[in-house]
Symmetry: C2
Subunit: 120 residues, 2 copies
DNA sequence: ACCTTCTGCAATCTTTGGTTGCACGTCACC
DNA sequence: GGTGACGTGCAACCAAAGATTGCAGAAGGT
């Protein structure tokens, strides 16, 4: 039923920039708005906003170090997000396969018995 | 590396309304803008726009039937989207697990040898 | 002490999801 | 066959989100 999942998490990972940021944070283990923006096609401020959003939904937590603000992934919450990703994917995949299978069955039946077609 | 995935597909399934629409289309096997809007919290026109977007990225194809316009999922493209979903999910999941494991290893080492801590 | 660098905040712009309103085509019913 | 109802598409308009520029302040390095 794909259910009512945390829409916040979805919108967080739905944005391409945020997805890439999560990717970078996951790879580097942490980073600042400035460091992240160096490898992204957007300005530092845009990255800072996204970090704020990610922080609001609990996907990252901030640790002020001197004048720098280091953001790191929240493993638990990130795992939740990944889980929901695969949940929806699996749900859709299952239904899609079922439908495909049904279609094949019908096709096969028509091949075997071309007489009894049901109209569209 | 999570790679460079079709950003269009991602943004298509990133929107909650579109995600629900895909869900409904998958369940019902097809539908019109009007029929879909009946079970969604948005107007028919909003649904029509989303259908237009989904059509542009090839996730649905339209079939005019009399005065109605019936939209149906494109199985192949939809399968691609689902695949990318699970690809990213799997990639993140793998790296997350690896990191978690490393963290546990470090923790265990510190438990066994509390003397040699590396400062934060 | 000075200059650099990194941060945060505010104003503005553009895109996008959403709404309302309207005009046209199609179906059904009289 | 005409008329009303249903369904579609188009256009204008709104609001929120992604992104930009500009600026002032705080922490570090020399």
């Amino acid at each position: 039923m794909t259910a009512e999942i945390d829409d916040d998490l979805w919108s967080a990972i739905g944005d391409p920039t945020r997805r890439r940021m999560l990717d970078m944070l996951l790879a580097a283990g942490g980073g600042t708005a400035t460091s992240l923006s160096h490898e992204l096609p957007v300005t530092r401020q845009a990255v800072a906003k996204h970090l704020g959003i990610l922080h609001r939904v609990g996907l990252v937590h901030a640790a002020p170090i001197g004048r720098e603000m280091c953001y790191r992934l929240d493993d638990a919450q990130f795992a939740r997000a990944v889980a929901q990703l695969s949940t929806v994917g699996a749900s859709w995949d299952a239904r899609l396969q079922r439908i495909t299978q049904i279609a094949e069955t019908i096709q096969r039946r028509q091949d075997a018995d071309p007489g009894r077609q049901n109209k569209t």
